[in-house]
């Protein structure tokens, strides 16, 4: 127990140490002025730009947003076709058929929106070709898109030109995602993760039966899955599969990769606006919320499941149903909290089996969607809450709120308000509809209060673009494929576009000179107000739902 806590502490310490240098690197990588990085990546990038017909010209926020929506839309269509046709495409050694239409629709949107909700099982649902030019492609393109938008957003805030979507998307992949994924992917292989295009192999076991063992090019798939906050597993059970997470070291690296970009972006922001304190206060606020959630979840998970504790067996290990022995209770619930905080969605334990409070905290990470959040999109969401916090403080003292020297006025607040309302509308609206219709309730596998949690978790995970699930839910039906597909799409693109509009609007405003009366956004006081805003907005919206699901289950267990 003490060593486990120490190992968690060390992991978080390493994460904190690498956040700032990574953030500075990101700021450099997307700088349009000449940097030394151009010498390294420039020639290769210029070749890609030529192949793609991209000119390095600045776009307006509207053109940037349009390019983002249309490019991602085209990629969805392209990958939809790959999934439908994989049965006749090459590299299909296990002979998997094409996906049915609603599943292909769901999966294409799922991976383009960085959600990676999976209503198929990797081993039997996808060919190697589908895993590569479908899934892998989007695992780069989706976080690349979000990273590009986050940088464009900060450029707008700091009064610069928004930039060019295509240049940013390619740079995100060539300068950040691909080099890091290649190196860590090979480390994963060294730790035991397979990397082969050979089909599954059949072993003759000790007891004389045949065991067919699925494998594939998993190592470098796994690295981008975590680094890009994608989370979609190569195998059905994701990082609980011994091939996808062989030991606690691979587990440690996966946790660091999930944290890397979401933890770095506040510092990128600090660097780009020329005041590291602005980024640090965001980082520290999010880390504090994370630590409180994590400690609570650890406590309840180690208590175990009262229903099993009553059976008189030795339950010192905690609640082991749905967990792997090599991770134990500690590293399992730690992973669960990291994957939901960073909106990755990879799992090394089955979230459906978590104790009610442990599961509720994983769910809360996604409901708030501001405890780091996924690469790019999470950061933008946090910035939205920062503006709400400034606005609320401004109302209380009766001043026009300012953020980074720009006045926040009616136009911005209207955009922010509809964005903020979108999330509960998607989650609660879709959950209510599902609980009301037999098409929805038929999927529930754990009856009672936990059934409510299963439905709410599924739509929260979709809206927050997380992708993990209470996987007992029988969600591979057209109803769930289509509804979660729509929720994922709106959960992703609505906020990205409105917040680009906010950035575009702020960029065009004149700077207000700072005075003693200016409310500062780089102080601990602001951090406290920010966290308060997370909870006021989040708790008021979702508390009743949590009472109906996990809290009720906890009280009746």
């Amino acid at each position: 127990m003490i060593t486990t806590i120490l190992s968690i502490f060390i992991t978080l310490a390493v994460m904190v140490l690498i956040a700032k240098p990574s953030g500075i690197y990101l700021a450099k990588a997307f700088d349009y002025k000449k940097t030394r990085l151009d010498k390294v990546f420039g020639p290769f990038e210029n070749l890609l730009f030529k192949l793609s017909g991209i000119k390095k010209v600045n776009q307006s926020w509207k053109q940037y947003a349009l390019a983002l929506i249309l490019a991602n839309g085209f990629m969805i269509v392209l990958v939809y076709l790959v999934f439908r046709l994989q049965g006749v495409l090459p590299l299909n050694p296990s002979g998997n058929p094409g996906m049915e239409p609603t599943l292909a629709f769901n999966t294409a949107i799922s991976f383009m929106t960085n959600t990676n909700l999976q209503h198929y099982s990797g081993e039997s649902g996808l060919s190697y070709m589908g895993q590569m030019i479908g899934i892998l492609f989007m695992m780069f393109a989706a976080p690349g898109t979000a990273l590009a938008v986050a940088i464009a957003f900060v450029r707008g805030l700091s009064g610069r030109e928004i930039g060019n979507f295509f240049v940013d998307l390619f740079r995100a992949i060539t300068r950040v995602l691909m080099p890091a994924a290649l190196v860590t992917g090979l480390i994963f292989v060294a730790l035991g993760v397979p990397q082969t295009l050979e089909p599954s192999i059949t072993a003759e076991t000790i007891e004389g039966t045949a065991q067919e063992i699925a494998r594939g090019p998993v190592g470098t798939f796994l690295s981008i899955k975590e680094l890009g906050n994608n989370g979609g597993g190569f195998f059905g059970v994701n990082s609980a599969h011994p091939f996808e997470n062989p030991n606690a070291i691979s587990n440690f690296i996966q946790i660091l990769l999930m944290f890397l970009l979401p933890a770095a972006l506040p510092f990128t922001y600090g660097k780009m606006v020329g005041n590291f304190k602005q980024g640090r206060v965001l980082f520290v606020s999010m880390l504090m919320v994370f630590i409180v959630f994590l400690s609570t979840a650890l406590f309840y998970e180690y208590q175990g499941n009262p229903a099993l504790n009553a059976l008189g067996i030795d339950t010192e290990q905690g609640s082991m149903e749905g967990k792997e022995v090599r991770f134990g209770t500690g590293q399992s619930i730690f992973y669960a909290l990291v994957t939901t905080a960073t909106e990755t969605g990879a799992v090394n334990t089955m979230h459906d089996t978590l104790t009610p409070i442990g599961g509720m905290l994983a769910l809360s990470n996604m409901l708030l969607n501001t405890v780091f959040g996924g690469v790019g999109a999470g950061f933008i969401n946090v910035m939205m809450y920062a503006m709400i916090a400034v606005f609320l403080s401004g109302l209380m003292v009766g001043r026009t709120p300012e953020f980074l020297g720009k006045k926040i006025e009616g136009r911005e607040m209207k955009l922010i308000a509809i964005t903020m309302l979108m999330q509960p509308l998607l989650i609660l609206g879709a959950s209510a509809a599902a609980l009301y219709t037999p098409l929805g309730t038929a999927a529930i596998s754990n009856s009672g209060f936990h059934g409510v949690s299963q439905v709410v978790y599924e739509y929260t995970s979709s809206a927050a673009n997380n992708g993990s699930g209470f996987e007992g839910l029988g969600d591979a039906t057209p109803y769930w494929n289509i509804t979660t597909g729509i929720v994922m799409y709106l959960g992703r693109f609505f906020g990205l576009v409105t917040m680009l509009a906010v950035a575009g609007s702020l960029a065009s405003k004149k700077l207000v000179p700072e005075t003693v009366g200016t409310f500062r956004t780089d102080t601990p006081l602001f951090g406290v107000i920010l966290v308060g805003t997370f909870f006021i907005v989040g708790a008021l919206t979702f508390f009743p739902t949590l009472v109906l699901g996990p809290v009720a289950e906890y009280l009746t267990l």
Partner: protein
């Protein structure tokens, strides 16, 4: 700089460029590198017998039902590694509680000498993957008496075997101490054949 740029061309061409770069070049190059420098791991850490036949993977658990061998954890898929998965039972799910009770009863029948309070929870619960190759050290120790009786190998020798197949926490801190059931049983099989 003029702010006009046509979108259709760049969108179509960049999508295909990225699809080829990230979906083909990246996995094929990395697979090539991995196969060249670490073929054993890249192929799935396979275990071979003296005849060179594959008997399993070092990372994937196997189903043991013969009471002569050490048993692994419950698996909803009976360690069928062509897939993976478990039942996703909620803590309040009555099916899970019933299944665990049945497992405990079956266990007591097979191991009458060991009181139930020495039966660790990992032996009677499902893993996440259904392929968990490990059990807790206590879980192995609790089976020694049964295996010793059926194989006529001394308890001391079996405890030695368990110790040899126990992996500590990584770097002394990360993860959990555990016993590798398949490796343990491979060693046990060798002893039985002698």
């Amino acid at each position: 700089m003029k702010n006009e740029q046509k979108l259709a061309g760049p969108i179509i061409r960049s999508s295909f460029t990225l699809m080829i770069l990230t979906g083909l070049v990246y996995p094929l190059v990395s697979t090539g590198i991995a196969q060249a420098i670490m073929p054993d791991q890249a192929d799935g850490s396979l275990l071979y017998n003296e005849q060179g036949e594959v008997v399993g993977s070092e990372l994937i658990g196997q189903n043991f039902t013969d009471p002569m061998y050490f048993h692994g954890r419950e698996s909803a898929i009976e360690y069928d590694a062509s897939g993976s998965g478990s039942n996703n039972y909620a803590p309040s799910n009555q099916d899970m509680i019933t299944r665990t009770e049945e497992s405990i009863a079956a266990w007591s029948e097979e191991n009458p000498a060991i009181p139930v309070n020495q039966l660790p929870i990992d032996l009677v619960t499902d893993s996440a993957s259904g392929l968990d190759p490990h059990i807790s050290v206590e879980g192995a120790a609790a089976q020694v008496e049964r295996v010793a009786e059926l194989t006529e190998i001394s308890s001391e020798r079996l405890e030695e075997l368990i110790e040899e197949n126990t992996q500590g926490k990584e770097w002394g801190l990360f993860g959990e101490e555990r016993v590798h059931v398949l490796m343990l049983n491979l060693d046990l099989q060798e002893l039985i054949q002698e």
